[in-house]
Amino acid sequence: MANTVIGSSIVIDGEITGEEPLTILGTVKGKITVAQSVAVEAGATVEADVEAQTVTVSGRLTGNVVARERLELKPESKMVGDAKSPRIVIADGAGFKGNVDMDV
């Protein structure tokens, strides 16, 4: 489904913008702005501010996240940074440090 895939050996230093789902298995540093979903898969490292409709983290994410619809931290994930989203799911076993803003 995902139209853009950043493979596990890829390192991107810069900015990613797009209108389609983004799956990250490798490393991205910088900034990510996507109209659709961003998936940070297990083993992936993201050091970036992320803005998307839905963000799903299974790997490691450092940066501020704005998810217009939903942010989900999976069991083995680690996230450091501020999270802003109307729906935030933090699974048992996920690591998280930062502010949560659900617009309430």
């Binding site: 139209n3 050996s9 390192v11 810069g14 990613i16 799956t23």
Partner: protein, 201 residues
């Protein structure tokens, strides 16, 4: 598939540096720098405006920048490419549009050049590729005389630039039989967009 292949989708744009040890397929756009130990494929409709250092380079879309491929370069018929090219094997299909210098010899030197360029000017690669003639750079406020001198020098630039490319194809180690024919056809088949750019210089 997802483990050994990276795809930049048609609606995605990356500006910055991409490094990796796997195949990369671009359907969208990359601006900046691409460094891979495997194959970079620029598909039809995709744009890469970057210094490229890869093993194999396959272009069906648009590439603007300096390209180094340690094993091979293939420009298919829909390719539009501007920039210097260094690789031991270079293949161009009929219909491919290319302007720049081809070097089938010293890949290491070309790679070293790309590295230092990238450090000095990460985003300015397009400009320098399109206007490599240095005389223009040295005529900022220096009266009309300087302008005339540049005008005299400028028309010779395309010829001077194409000469090394021709000699490179003659002395190239691989020298596939199809290459001279394609190289000869390049002049006659230069597309309008490339001619416009050449005329402007």
């Amino acid at each position: 598939m997802a483990d050994k292949e990276t795809v930049i989708g048609p609606e995605t744009r990356i500006s910055g540096e991409v490094r990796g040890e796997e195949d990369l397929i671009v359907r969208g756009r990359i601006d900046g720098k691409v460094q891979l130990t495997q194959t970079l494929t620029v598909e039809k409709g995709a744009t890469v405006q970057a210094d490229v250092d890869v093993r194999h380079l396959i272009v069906a879309g648009t590439v603007v920048g300096t390209m180094v491929a340690s094993e091979s370069v293939k420009l298919v018929s829909s390719a539009r490419v501007v920039g210097d090219l260094a690789s031991p094997r270079v293949m161009m299909e009929a219909g491919a549009a290319y302007r720049g210098r081809v070097d089938m010899g010293d890949i290491a030197a070309a790679r070293a050049a790309i590295g230092s360029h990238a450090v000095q000017r990460p985003a300015a690669s397009e400009k320098s590729v399109l206007r490599p003639a240095p005389p223009r750079m040295t005529m900022p406020a220096k009266a009309v005389v300087a302008g005339k001198a540049a005008a005299l020098v400028a028309p010779t630039a395309p010829g001077a630039r194409s000469a090394p490319a021709v000699s490179a194809s003659g002395s190239g180690p691989a020298s596939p039989p199809a290459f001279p024919r394609v190289a000869g056809a390049m002049g006659a088949m230069t597309p309008a967009w490339a001619k416009k750019k050449i005329r402007r210089r």
